[in-house]
């Protein structure tokens, strides 16, 4: 059993689901059984946004130590603004709006990569500084702030089938596709190879720089797309709408069992971790804990997970 868990990689992400289920059960007990299904439904809906940004962040982190995308929050905000102004409340413009948000992300991702490659700035500094540029652009652009999302988009984000948000089902299909990309495409394998040893990857014929560019661009494109979707879900754009995605994108990746040392990643864990994070917040709210303590616990949790994962790697 243990060998099977290790070999299939299930061990990497099982922990996140165990955590999510535990937290949900505790919440149900605290609330005397009230709203158990509602909490889960809300979690499944909200998890979509966490999972989408975390998917991009996961590919970035998997390319090895030092790789991280801190521009996600700003890109979410800018993507939302661009999408809302293109859509201009019209159902017919929903698809162009999403395409514009993705294009915005591609531009941001390419800019991030250019900073890292051409100016040899460490990714953490490059993406952080570019996030200021992107956030300032979002403020300056300003449009979309007062625009309501198209009705069809809003309806879509709240549509459900048997208590499961339709948006969630679509996102699950998307992450399954990304799991195939990670495991079965040359690009996905290149990411994992670079994450283990960039020099060996280069000498084994992997196009290291192209893979890095695609990865940073993918992350920002997903952030832009998420911004558009989140604007539809929350009824419009606000300038700080991306802020929550900074910690969330990293926490979901790490708790989901992706190695911060690079070279090991999985997609199922993102859903477990996203649900876990949302339900944890719900549980703490139900228990009447303040937001300061919530943040503290989230931080402690990330450290605990990294320590546990790191300990296991040392022993290997």
């Amino acid at each position: 059993m243990a060998a099977w868990l290790a070999r299939t990689g299930v061990r990497d992400w099982l922990f996140a689901y165990v955590g999510a289920v535990t937290v949900w059960l505790v919440t149900v007990v605290i609330a005397d059984g009230f709203g158990a299904m509602q909490t889960l439904t809300a979690g499944l809906g909200f998890a979509v946004f966490y999972v989408l940004v975390a998917t991009g962040q996961m590919f970035v982190i998997a390319t090895g130590p030092g790789n991280i995308d801190l521009s996600i929050p700003a890109t979410v905000t800018l993507g939302a603004g661009v999408a809302m102004s293109v859509m201009a409340g019209s159902d017919a413009m929903i698809v162009p709006g999403f395409l514009a948000a993705i294009a915005t992300g591609i531009a941001v991702g390419s800019f991030n990569y250019a900073l890292i490659r051409a100016l040899r700035i460490p990714p953490i500094i490059a993406t952080l500084s570019s996030s200021f540029v992107v956030q300032s652009t979002a403020i300056w652009y300003g449009r979309g702030l007062s625009i309501k999302p198209p009705d069809a988009l809003q309806d879509f984000t709240f549509a459900r089938v048997l208590d499961v948000p339709v948006m969630t089902l679509v996102a699950v299909l998307f992450t399954m596709a990304m799991a195939v990309v990670l495991r079965r495409t040359v690009y996905g394998r290149s990411v994992l190879a670079i994450g283990q040893n960039p020099k060996a990857a280069h000498l084994a014929g992997v196009d290291v720089e192209r893979t890095r560019w695609v990865t940073y661009t993918l992350s920002a494109a997903l952030a832009g797309f998420t911004g558009a979707l989140f604007a539809g879900f929350s009824g419009g754009v606000s300038l700080d709408m991306g802020a929550q995605f900074l910690l969330a994108s990293i926490a979901v990746v790490v708790i989901g069992g992706t190695s911060v040392a690079g070279g090991r990643a999985n997609l199922p864990g993102l859903w477990g971790a996203a649900l876990f994070l949302f339900l944890l917040v719900t549980m703490l709210n139900a228990a009447g804990v303040g937001s300061g303590v919530r943040q503290l616990l989230t931080g402690v949790l990330i450290i605990a997970v990294i320590t546990a994962a790191g300990g296991e790697q040392r022993g290997r």
């Binding site: 079965r184 040359v186 394998r189 283990q196 060996a200 084994a204 290997r316």
Partner: protein, 481 residues
Amino acid sequence: MTALVELGGLEKRYEAVRALDGVDLSVAAGEVLGLVGHNGAGKSTLINVLAGTVVPDAGRIEVRGEDLTRGYDVTTATDRGIRCVFQELSLCPNLTAAENTRIVHRSIRGHGWHERARALIMATLDAVFPGHGIRPDRRIGDLSIGRRQMVEIARAFTETETPVRLVILDEPTSSLDSTAAEQLLAYVRRRQADGVATILISHLLGEILSAADRVVVMRDGKVVADRAASTLARDALVGLMGHVAQQPGAAAGRRRLDAAKVLDGPGPGGRHRLELRRGEVVGLAGLAGHGQTAALLAIYDRPRAFAAEAALAFVAGDRQADGVFPLWSIRDNIAVRSFAALRRHGLLDEGGVSELAETWRQRIGIRTPDVRNPILSLSGGNQQKVLFARALASAATIILMDDPMRGVDVGTKSEVYALIRQEATAGRSFLWYTTELDELVHCDRVYVFREDEIVAHLEQDEITERAVLQASFRADTEAVA
């Protein structure tokens, strides 16, 4: 007279390699000892044992008549006045010469330490390299490589609590100009009067013969000669380093001069062109670290500069740093170079990947019951076979090999030699950097590197250990560039 240092029966193994195979060595106070040998002869291991950075498997270490074998380490060595200047500089580039000096002298402390450290290193620099022109407040990283080396050497001669008794200089003149090199050797001889002994390692045999009192020659982890320098000439020394029996060109008679060139470009240094023909196995020889790996990487990264049309594959020699993907299975480690070719409808064909890995497991004899096992479950030699399989399983027809047989057992070696020959006959071309003289008999031609240049081009019938050694070690009569 008691020897300053007395080493007896030292043994050290690395996997299959006997780096030290029963070495006895004694150094007297005030003696300059030259230590020579080709790559892998055991020189580095020997001086690392003396410096306390390598613990021998067996043997005895005595300093000034005191048995220190048990628990001998760097601190023991430095406390007894044994100093080491390694080939790779060990100064911190972000600190000044004075600060780097303080690091090795714990007694320089308290108020005014900076001034005292500066005075100490400057006095030694002035004594060793008069007119050196080094400012002690410059960061090491801002100095030229030659001046960095001067600081490194001078620091080894600085004294505070313990007097310097033995200084080991590993290729000390490699980045010094000829004036500084002469100054250093003159200083070493002056310090003999104070009883300071020196062990000198150099690929400049003239330097060894003129500076040393005694020369020790190592080969295959053993001391094969120990003679007064005055009784030796350069040719005799070269002869001692190689094996006695030597027949050139085991691969004789199969070279095709008419085969098409697959690589053709200016060789490093510009004196010789670097060429590789279809079906050829060409060796890159010379002492380790004289530019062979850099030449291979230059070809790999800019194949157009060498008119390469065909795909290239690289076989790394430093498995952990450049070769293995530690999280992956043997299967994926073999197939990674071929992933792009193993796609079906844009996705990796898992069956094809397994088939490829299984084919090569059998062909190259990787000792594992299942290619899905982790790569790290294999021994070093078998991991190396995986790296060979990775290159040979790919479509690449030009194979660059970066000293791939390091630390590989004899059995694996002979299997791989046969495979290389077989693949060359089938039309693949190999450029093979090797630090082992024995391996050159498997080559059709050899380029010898020295100081980042190709200094000799040996045709098949000229490949002898002697010829390679002659080219690898510079004679002093040759002009210094």
